[in-house]
């Protein structure tokens, strides 16, 4: 059906390899000027592909774009599917009637994936690109390649890179687990036993986590062996990497309160950062530029969220001080765009997720259904993964902080302490 079009396209690509290179180079980060109503999400139709794996690719890309919450994927029924992609070219008038700003076609090729984006308003091809992908038999690597394509596509369409090629770390049953951001590929991580909270290195290949027995902070490459960077008497909890990945900041304490410490990620002497004077200071989270740390402290009598400079000075209360006895704010996580800190706050006896603006200190409540805690931002600074009991057991959920749309990520045994990865490279 599309053979003539793609034959012409293939001939052009083969005859002009320099053109392919040019496309590859310039298409990264290029905006496609779509026409759609301001304030709305652009409608996109993912055109069907009648080749082996075509349905799978279309389904994955459609779901990735949908879960990104920046694009409306227009569903097609069987007759529309047949009519929308006529021989030779997209059915422009039908696409326009469906409200599509763009049509997308991803075709599996022997070496990977071929992407074509059509601008419905201009009736022109807006983007052509070829991706090298591993064979579909390498399921995880192949799915990762498709997610990578989806993320670049989302960047081209909206200006913001997608988050489908990311993963979430969490603890379940005394072990660390990993799951893709779309809910696939759930698997335990080898090596980490009795872990507390875990966090990602900015490189997306290394993690740090705490264990209770023995009490320690571990740095470990995914698939590799862990090495202890801090241990001893008392508690060692809530480690995070600094944004440059050079150090790990964690909470350590014995009988006289808990303070934040910094240790080189390669090991070495630890240095105290917070002066809690007997209070508990835990859950550090860095601003994207690495200059400030948000953390939870009980120094005012009950847990609140504070910020301080990365050297431990200039401590400032971030959340508005609540003098109520039930006041309890914890688990801060700084968004990657630096604008918001997400945290959990006890409201009517249950934890709910809120965000506070760094510029205006404005609070926004994100959840109200069940008990919701331990938020962790996605790298797009828009989605959060968190733990909720709204389905009956404590499971991971993802919420779009702008629209409030939520989806369940895990099922099965209860989970805790999620951490969303940075954008990942090839697996």
């Amino acid at each position: 059906m599309h053979l003539p079009f793609f034959r012409v396209l293939a001939a052009v690509l083969v005859a002009a390899p320099s053109l392919v290179v040019a496309q590859d180079t310039t298409s990264r980060g290029v905006r496609i000027g779509l026409t759609y109503d301001p304030g709305t999400k652009p409608g996109v139709v993912v055109l069907p592909v009648s080749t082996a794996l075509g349905d799978s690719v279309a389904a994955i890309v459609s779901r990735d774009l949908d879960l990104g919450d920046r694009i409306t994927v227009i569903p097609l029924d069987a007759s529309a599917s047949r009519a929308v992609a006529r021989a030779g070219a997209p059915n422009w008038s039908l696409l326009a009637q469906l409200g599509a700003a763009a049509a997308i076609q991803v075709t599996p090729t022997p070496s990977g994936l071929h992407l074509a984006v059509y601008n419905v308003a201009t009736r022109q091809t807006a983007l052509i690109r070829d991706y090298v992908a591993p064979p579909a038999s390498s399921v995880r690597a192949w799915r990762s390649a498709v997610h990578g394509l989806s993320d670049e596509l989302e960047q081209s369409l909206t200006g913001t890179r997608g988050i489908s090629r990311t993963r979430v770390l969490f603890t379940r049953g005394g072990r660390l687990w990993l799951i893709d951001s779309d809910g696939h590929g759930e698997s335990p991580l080898a090596g980490a036993v009795t872990p507390g909270s875990a966090a990602w290195h900015p490189n997306g290949r290394t993690i740090t986590y705490s264990t209770y027995v023995p009490s320690q902070i571990v740095v470990q490459d995914i698939g590799g062996r862990g090495r202890t960077v801090a241990s001893g008497r008392g508690v060692f909890i809530s480690p995070v990497f600094t944004p440059d990945g050079a150090s790990v900041v964690y909470a350590h304490g014995e009988d006289d309160g808990v303070d934040l410490y910094s240790v080189p990620a390669s090991g070495g002497a630890a240095r105290r950062l917070s002066v809690g004077r007997g209070s508990d200071n835990v859950s550090p989270s860095f601003s994207p530029d690495g200059r400030r740390i948000a953390f939870m402290s009980g120094r005012a009598g009950h847990p609140e969220i504070y910020t301080m400079d990365a050297d431990g000075t200039n401590v400032d209360l971030l959340t508005p001080l609540d003098v109520g006895e039930s006041a309890y704010r914890a688990s801060p996580d700084w968004s990657s765009d630096g604008r918001l800190v997400a945290f959990q706050s006890r409201i009517d006896g249950q934890f709910q997720l809120l965000t506070v603006g760094l510029r205006d200190r404005a609070l926004k409540q994100l959840t109200s259904d069940g008990s919701n805690d331990d938020p962790s931002w996605a790298p797009d600074a828009r989605h959060l993964v968190f733990v909720s009991n709204r389905s009956g057991t404590r499971q991971l959920w993802v919420i779009d902080a702008e629209s409030g749309r939520a989806r369940q990520l895990t099922r099965g045994a209860s989970v805790r302490l999620p951490s969303w990865s940075p954008r990942l490279g090839e697996p």
Binding site: D256, A269, R271, R272, L273, V275, G276, R277, G278, S279, D289, R291, R299, A300, G301, D309, D311, G312, T313, N314, V315, D316, L317, L321, G338, L358, R359, D360
Partner: protein, 257 residues
């Protein structure tokens, strides 16, 4: 001669027997007396020993009681100290909050008083209100801080500098200068930031922000390899601002030299 010897022996033997009985009796009496005396002495000694033991026990009890009281006192003192620390911290937090609220309130009041002081001038055909003469120190401080929080370091710096120029004696001046340093740090201009931190310590040594500025200055010069000067700066923090958070951090830094 032989008979005489036998007789003498017999007399001696008989005589010995008679003397021995008496002696034994005497001896028994003496022994009995001695035993009684010894028993009396033992009784007295054991009484003394018992008395001494009793005294030791009493002393031990006293020592134990004193020790318990001391431990309790230490515990009370430690608890009090801990509680005092917490209370000081809470007061600091609350006063910090109040200060920030007051700062915002002052800014708001300044704005209102300016509006009130400058009533609209009735000009024919002009319906606009008169423009206030200029922002007060609290207004300048607040708007500059807002700019810094929004990430506009340069604009924020202009505002803080304007505050220092226009209101050099304002109570916000030391903090404004600290924030000027922060704007440089936000722009990764560490040399300029360090220089301004030094100025804060020089101009406002009694400000609560002086310890922060000095600590940042010390960290910066240590990173630059000026170890002796850094050490001196950390020691100065401990000496001159012993109750500050920065003093606690400086003590830890000093352990690593």
């Amino acid at each position: 001669m032989r008979r005489l010897a036998l007789l003498s022996a017999a007399v001696l033997a008989l005589g010995g027997c008679v003397a021995s009985k008496r002696d034994v009796f005497l001896l028994q009496t003496q022994l009995s007396t001695m035993q009684s005396a010894a028993a009396r002495a033992d009784t007295a000694r054991s009484a003394q020993v018992a008395a001494v033991l009793n005294q030791i026990v009493q002393s031990n009890d006293s020592v134990r009681a004193v020790s318990a009281r001391l431990a309790k006192l230490q515990s009370t003192v430690a608890t009090d100290h801990y509680e005092m620390g917490r209370q000081i911290l809470q007061i600091q937090e609350l006063s910090g909050q109040s200060q920030r609220r007051l700062q915002e309130l002052r800014a708001s009041l300044e704005e209102r008083s300016q509006m009130a002081a400058a009533p609209p001038v009735p000009v024919q055909g002009d319906t606009t209100r008169a423009v206030p003469s200029g922002p007060g120190p609290a207004q300048l401080f607040q708007s500059s801080l807002d700019q810094l929080r929004r990430g506009s370091a340069r604009v924020a710096r202009s505002g803080f500098e304007e505050l220092l120029r226009t209101y050099p004696r304002s109570e916000d001046a030391p903090e404004a200068m600290i924030y000027i340093a922060e704007t440089y740090a936000a722009e990764r201009n560490q040399v300029a930031a360090d220089s301004v931190y030094g100025l804060v310590v020089q101009r406002y040594p009694s400000s609560p922000k002086a310890a922060t500025a000095l600590y940042k200055h010390a960290i910066s010069i240590r990173a630059a390899g000026r170890t002796a000067q850094a050490r001196a700066a950390f020691e100065r923090i401990v000496r001159e601002y012993p109750r500050s958070d920065e003093a606690s951090l400086a003590r830890e830094q000093l352990k690593t030299f």
